[in-house]
Structures are given as C-alpha cells and as structure tokens.
Amino acid sequence: MSSVAERLSATGTANALELRGITRLFGALAALTDVTISVRPGERRAVLGSNGAGKTTLFNCITGDFLPTSGTIRFFGEDITSFPPHERIRRGLRRTYQISLLFKGLTVVDNVYLACRGVSRGRFSLLRPRRGDAIRAAAESLVEAVHLTGVRDRLVGELAYGQQRQLEIALALAGAPRFVLFDEPAAGLSPTERSELVEILTALPRHIGYVIIEHDMDVALRVVESVTMMHNGRIFKEGAPQEIEDDPEVQDLYLGGGHG
C-alpha cells in the first residue's frame, strides 16, 4: 500500500520540499530548532533573517552537506533525510553557495560541463565527448544563458567576481533541476548585475521552484511569491511578500533593527 501512496505522491500531489521538525545542533548551540516548512512544486520563496538566523544551515541540511540532528526532509514525496548530497542532486535538487565554490583550475565551459555530466550517465567515462555530444552542447547553451560565452575558455580563477557569481548560478541550473536553493546570489553584485540576476531568476521555467536567501529586499521580494522569516534558528513568520514587509514585528526585528 505504501508503495502506491509513494508513487502517487511522486507524481505531483506531494510538496517539492517538506521539512518536518528539523533541528541541527552544533555542540550545545542550536543552529536550527524544530523548523517545519512546506514548499509546493514551482513555488518561489524567500528565506529572510539576520546573520546567524540559520538560513544557510537550513540549506546545508536540505542538500545533505551535513545531516540534521533530528527531523525529516522529503523531496517530491521521497524521504531524503539521510541521502548523501549527490543522490539528492541526481533527483533534481540544486543549490548555489554564498561564497562561490567553483573549480578554479578549469575553464568556464568545463565547469558547466561537469555540472551537466554530474546529473547524467557517463560520469566515469574514460572517453572524451565527441563532436556533437549532447551534454557538451547543453553546457554550451547554459554558458550562453548566463552571459558567459565571451569567457568560455578562461580559467575560472581568472574571472571577475560578478562573472563567478553568474557561473555559480549556471552550475545550479545544469541538467533538469526541479528545485533550486539560491544562497545570497546577489551578494557583492553591482546594481546592473543585480537586475541581470532578477532577469535570470524570473526567466526560469515555471515548473522550477526555488528558495532564495537574500538580504537585498529589492531583489528578494521581486522574484518570490512567499516569504519565510527566520530568527535564532526558528521560523518566525510566513506569508506573502507584502504581508511580511508590512508586519510591524518583522520591521522591528529585521528591517528597522538593521542586520549587522
């Protein structure tokens, strides 16, 4: 019976992301306490909160960079709580990192190629891709999509900061993502680069949902339909962007109080 239910849930009735009672302790410090969140397929949500609120820890638990101390994580109905990161990624989960984690000794196109290859067969292939290889072509079009064609053969270590951030996003969009976690994608970007980022995010196909951690409210509230506020490792408020923005408690805690 349960297998029927699982199959049903996998075909769309389940939430894209379903966190139940996630707690993460670092020694005596509780980085996350009893966090419960549901995100529908295709939903776009911002996670806001001051530094130390537990936002990045939440991402790390979802992608399996480390495991939660307790609680369960379901991805499109499947319990992935104890899966290693690569198994989660192969199921369509993606993420970007706050500080770019790129392959600096490789070229831009090779970085993206690795990401495309990582979610397809032939990861261990000893044969070079042939001319017209589909994965290679996918990598090329992704490089173009994030406006990096001009530097496709440059080593990533030589790229400007903004370009590295764009590449960071390209790596997260490789293959067929079903759900993406963006960790402060706008941090350190110029105003022009920020509007380019908003363009990239709003241009994503509708079926791709995401959660975005962003300090810049101008970016965050333009690209999401719901907001979760976190404070001291707990969920503080949830609602539509306008509700959160107008909430006096939120203003008091986050907008008014600064976030230094």
């Binding site: 960079d65 690569h86 690795l114 000893l126």
Partner: protein
C-alpha cells in the same frame, strides 16, 4: 536540453589544410622530434644507456605518473605508488618464474602478468578506500604508513615474499618470437608502455572521468553538490593509478631481474615523490622529466663527485642539491620552468586552460 542541432558531419570528418587529420596536425613539432629521437635511440646509444638510463627513466616515470594522476589531477598525494608497483613485481615473481622454485608457481607470463596487475589494482583500491576520506598531510601519512607496513611485512614474511632475500632470476619473457630481456627489445617495451600510459593520462584529463577528478581537486564539496559521488570517484582514481604503477612494477622487476623488500623501502617510496615533484605535477610529462633527471644523477653523480675530488661515498649530496635547486628555482618543477620560459617568449599569448 533537447533537439540541439548537431554540427554537420562533414565538418567533423574534413581533413585540415595540410591534408593530415586534425588531431595529427595539432601535434607540436617538438613532439615529432622527441618521438623520432626516442624511436631511433638504439641506433645512437649503447645497451647501458638504453636500459639503465632510458628504460629505468620510463619505468620510474610511469610510477611517478601514477602519483601525478592522483596528485596533479585529483589533489591526493599518495606515497603508496611505489609499494603498489612493488607488489605487482612480487606477484609476477610469485605467479611466474624465478630462482625461488619453492614459492614461484611458474605460470606462463600471459597468466602471471594479468594476475599480478589485478592484485596490484585491487590493493590500490583498498589503499584508496582507506586514504580517500582523509585530505592533505593525512593522506600522505596514511599512505606512508601503508608503505612502511608493506616493507616490514615483505621483510618478515617468508611464505609469500621470501623475506629479506626476495626473489631473483625473474626475467622478461620470450614472447611473439622476441626475447624481451635483450636490451633493445626491452627498451622498446618500456618506451611503448611509458608512451601509452602518458597518452592515456593526457587523454583522460579531458574526458569526464579526468575532468571530474580535477573538479574534486578544486572543490570536492561542490562536486558532491552537482551530483558526483566523490568517494567513489577518488577510489576509482586509485584503481587507475595503481594499474599504471603495477605495469611499471613488473617492468622494474624484469629490468633488475630481482625484487626484494628494499624495492619498496621508504627511500624508494620517497624517491617517487621527489621525482614527481621535481618533474612537476602540473602535466603528465613532468614525472618522466623528473625520472630522467633522477636516473642521470643516480648513475653519474658518483663519477662527477669523484672527478671533483670529493669523497665518493657522499655522492647523494649532489643528487640532493640538484633537486633542491630545481625545486627552489621552480616550485612546480621542470614543467613549471618550461612553461614560464615559453610564456616569456610569447608574452602576448593567451594563458592556456587546464591540462591538455
């Protein structure tokens, strides 16, 4: 990601302007000269130079190449490569023919060699499985510990490894009508296998497996976050490297005609690291350059030293100083030295990307 137009096949098959296939005309002229020199070396050099300098360099170069594959591509410095090579040599002696008739099984080479290579590769996988969860200095320590353990085990085990004496009377076989123990055939045998390993490592460096390995070197955590099983990839790299080291280990045993614990002693283990670092971990040619320098110094340092009137027993001082000079002048070895020289000659040239 679907229905991406494939470039017209005509473009793929079209020969370049010079009439040669594209991959052939892309080979730098220097490689043609080097290839020509190496192919016709037996016409110019005597047996001693062929086997003791070049043959030995090719063999040590292959062992160091297996370290370069792990270290340069994968960021894993393994001190177990000489040990894995020695295990292959030992197994070739145990399953093949040697003077120690009470241990050697006397199987023909075409059975003994594959068995020896399989055991060496398997051992490499075990070493890898133990080592890959560590990083940096800890990988070095754990592989060094394995090497030290193997040395003492071989020294004290008489049932399989014949203790201190090891095996002698191991010879390259007579096969396909050629006596491979003769200097000229043995030279070509080592040259062919060294060239094959070199080309394999260069080729794989641009294939998904090699690219992924370099990705793991640059950022293992991100590799997991784009779908790679980093542990499995690293262990697979150990398997590939151990196979190369194993081939070299068998050649080394054939060249020396013997194998004993000293072959895998700590000094020999360190020598492979020195060869790889002095040659340069940045490109697969580095280990061979390092090995040639090592073989030349090891062979001629004694003569040079006595010629200057120093006490000849201290000739290792010259070897050490020579390596020190290279590493001080160029932290990325002879390969780095050559790259900087080339870049200085062509200052306008674009920096090259990755391993090619």
């Amino acid at each position: 990601m679907t229905d991406i137009p494939v470039p017209a096949p005509a473009a793929a098959a079209a020969p370049s302007a010079s009439g040669l296939p594209a991959w052939l005309s892309a080979v730098h002229p220097a490689w043609w000269i080097l290839g020509f020199l190496l192919l016709f070396m037996p016409a110019m050099a005597g047996d001693f130079v062929l086997v003791q300098i070049f043959g030995w360099s090719f063999i040590l170069g292959m062992i160091a190449l297996s370290l370069m594959f792990l270290g340069g591509y994968g960021g894993m410095v393994s001190l177990a490569q000489m040990t894995i090579a020695a295990l292959a040599g030992y197994m070739a002696a145990v399953f093949g023919t040697s003077s120690v008739a009470e241990i050697s099984l006397g199987l023909p080479w075409w059975i003994a060699v594959p068995i020896a290579l399989s055991i060496a590769t398997l051992f490499g996988v075990v070493v890898g499985a133990l080592a890959v969860r560590t990083a940096g200095i800890y990988t070095i320590m754990i592989t060094l510990a394995i090497s030290a353990a193997f040395f003492y085990f071989a020294l004290q085990n008489y049932e399989i490894f014949n203790g201190q004496r090891g095996f002698n009377g191991i010879r390259a076989p007579v096969a396909f009508g050629v006596d491979w123990r003769a200097p000229v055939p043995f030279y070509y045998l080592t040259l062919a296998l060294a060239a094959a390993s070199y080309l394999f490592v260069v080729y794989v460096g641009r294939a998904p497996f090699g690219l992924a390995l370099q990705g793991i070197r640059d950022n293992a955590r991100r590799m997991a976050a784009i779908g790679y099983n980093v542990t499995a990839h690293r262990i697979a790299a150990y398997a590939v490297a151990s196979f190369i080291a194993g081939v070299a280990g068998i050649l080394l045993t054939w060249q020396n005609g013997q194998i004993s614990p000293g072959t895998a002693g700590i000094p020999a283990v360190i020598d492979i690291l020195v060869i790889a670092v002095v040659g340069g971990l940045g490109h697969p040619i580095g280990p061979f350059l390092g090995a040639l320098l090592y073989a030349l110094l090891r062979t001629f340092a004694l003569d040079v030293f006595s010629a200057f009137g120093f006490e000849s027993t201290r000739f290792n001082l010259l070897v050490g100083v020579a390596f020190l000079v290279v590493v001080l002048a160029s932290p990325d070895g002879l390969v780095g030295l050559w790259r900087r020289w080339r870049d200085r000659r062509r200052p306008a040239a674009k920096p090259s990307g990755g391993h090619r």
